[in-house]
Subunit: 425 residues, 2 copies
Amino acid sequence: MGLVVQKYGGSSVSDAAAIKRVARRIVDTKKAGHEVVVVVSAMGDTTDELLDLAKEVSPVPSGRELDMLLTAGERISMAVVAMAISDLGHEALSFTGSQAGVITDSMHGKARIIDVTPSRIRQALDDGAIAIVAGFQGVSQDSKDITTLGRGGSDTTAVALAAALGADVCEIFSDVDGIFTADPRIVPAARRIPRISYEETLEMAACGSKILHLRCVEYARRYGIPIHVRSSFSTLDGTWVSDESKGSDQTDMEHPIISGVAHDRSEAKITVVGVPDKVGEAATIFHAIADAGVNIDMIVQNVSAADTNRTDISFTLPATDGPAGMEALTAVQTAVGFEALRYDDGIGKVSLIGAGMRSHPGVSAKFFGALAEAGVNIEMISTSEIRISVVVRGEDVDTAVGALHRAFDLDAEEVEAVVYGGTGR
Amino acid sequence: MGLVVQKYGGSSVSDAAAIKRVARRIVDTKKAGHEVVVVVSAMGDTTDELLDLAKEVSPVPSGRELDMLLTAGERISMAVVAMAISDLGHEALSFTGSQAGVITDSMHGKARIIDVTPSRIRQALDDGAIAIVAGFQGVSQDSKDITTLGRGGSDTTAVALAAALGADVCEIFSDVDGIFTADPRIVPAARRIPRISYEETLEMAACGSKILHLRCVEYARRYGIPIHVRSSFSTLDGTWVSDESKGSDQTDMEHPIISGVAHDRSEAKITVVGVPDKVGEAATIFHAIADAGVNIDMIVQNVSAADTNRTDISFTLPATDGPAGMEALTAVQTAVGFEALRYDDGIGKVSLIGAGMRSHPGVSAKFFGALAEAGVNIEMISTSEIRISVVVRGEDVDTAVGALHRAFDLDAEEVEAVVYGGTGR
């Protein structure tokens, strides 16, 4: 008997049939003796349809009103999920983000959770009901306006509620079976990772793995909430994300050195050409970028050419922020005195992640050896204690991912069957 | 400069184009120097679509969850209306029923308003913004659950806010030009009524006029809020509903004796045949009906037949309540000892309404004379101080309405042009 928070994404509640299937799964969890809190996203394409409607009346709708509009999506799905559960003979009560006590700041469209005060959820559980909560939304502390949490918002809602309620686990359901050693569409031999640390999951999320959002993993790590990433189409175990140093049933000896290979095609590279090599020029450049609200990822500065005393600075950023970044730099061109800007969105980032590389020398050598052997040219390099990332040409990403996956013995002995729609095996 | 509450129904906000038109109209009112509060219904068929979705997962969805689901409809329309206004350069803030301070009891699906505490609306107006409020919804005082107000709920929201804010007028916009002396689809010569009392409007609503709901008019009368019923497709004056005794610019002398002719095809008649004529039998019958939650309208009891000492009791009720009524009566047949039940849904009710009939004798004579001349047979009669209603065969309704309209000189000298989509004439 424990408290389980489950989160179902939009594809798991895409229509009435899907909602009924999810309801049965929720009821099964309840019948197994658990208290159950369920966080739901909007049904299927609802959010996109609401966005389209907004754009029909206003090219740049106000953030407050857009949040009011979009939160209708979860309101619909949570009520219908609650009805489907009631229809199975179990009590279910739905709650908006505001009713669930999800208190945020006032940044419409990307609000941060400040506090979670789930007294109504606790009461519903005490009354024997299943609580259904709208994901992705909250209410601002100052103005009491409805807010949305932005990307990864529903997963974050689930983890935040799990933390506030002292849940035993937060189960994140989607249409994939868990976190894999690489994207199975690129590497057919990729294996599901049964257990992984918060730290490694954070690195994978930061490096382009789409399964869990950085923000949700950060929240889970801070509060020590184990996340179980699993498929809503099967009852198989998925991937457990937790702090393995605290009481995992696996010893470190058994833990593989490398967890997986991640890739990301969503970044672009800006090169600032001919920057005068004097103190403060780089600071001016990166201040301009930061002021435009753009996050940069990797940075490389060439050794200054002796004859010109000028250098090139390259950095990567989300391609969606590309225009804003270029605009911000153009505005400081005269002040900085650089020669030109180059923009390149034909790049890809490939990363090797593994907590084990901390204590195992030779990982870098094998990494670069494998890429060289595969004929992949490297444009930029960045490393952390548990990660090596390189920027390569976009068309080399698949080759690089496959080569690294093989080199670090991640390939499955047999290709693991990915079971959809089944109930066990 | 005054405070205007406007209410736009579903047909006025059916799509993005309609919403933009409504937004221009709202902005025009604001530009004319008024403070503006707008109550909106759900867009077009949204409510029906949400009901269909609910039925797909549960044949009898819980009232709490159904209210949570349906209120998503107004949430969408109010946010989009607010965006459309912002796009015209005016600040607009949307508020849910709960945020607007619409406090109700806990009767999901047909909640009654207990209190309205519109402090956030007042603040928005003080800040120079236009406030957009979701109609049809509130929050229950006890459980803080979302409720819906049932039929006529959006109009009632508008009048209740107008009362709480001390508005100068509550404008109810729909796709008709106002209240007419009869349904123009039946009587082409029907005229728009420029002014009418609350009392007469209540009688018309109770007698089948669909323009304003009884509940909304009752609320307006209690708080003395003038209602202006008008078309969202034109800028013409519609019908002013107010307490004419208090400072109308029309004298009583000018007020016509008769306001209009209403009709209603939505009722059915139940006849309880052979009821023993002793004290308390009628009470048992009507108790049974009341316990089934059915409201009855007109009642006729025949003179008891001397030989059998039995009588027939007929009454009308909403046809939708017919099955419940028949079931309740069947359950008491043995106890009461009546002989049979007859059910007839082929009836119609025709009513003549006019505050002037109080002081003008001869209205009844002319009423029954006109129907006799038109060959309309009368099955039941009921009267109030300002109304005469009769039940006739359904197929005689049109004839009866036309005959009364002519007999009481309500026909327009020229047929008034009903202008749709224009902005003036």
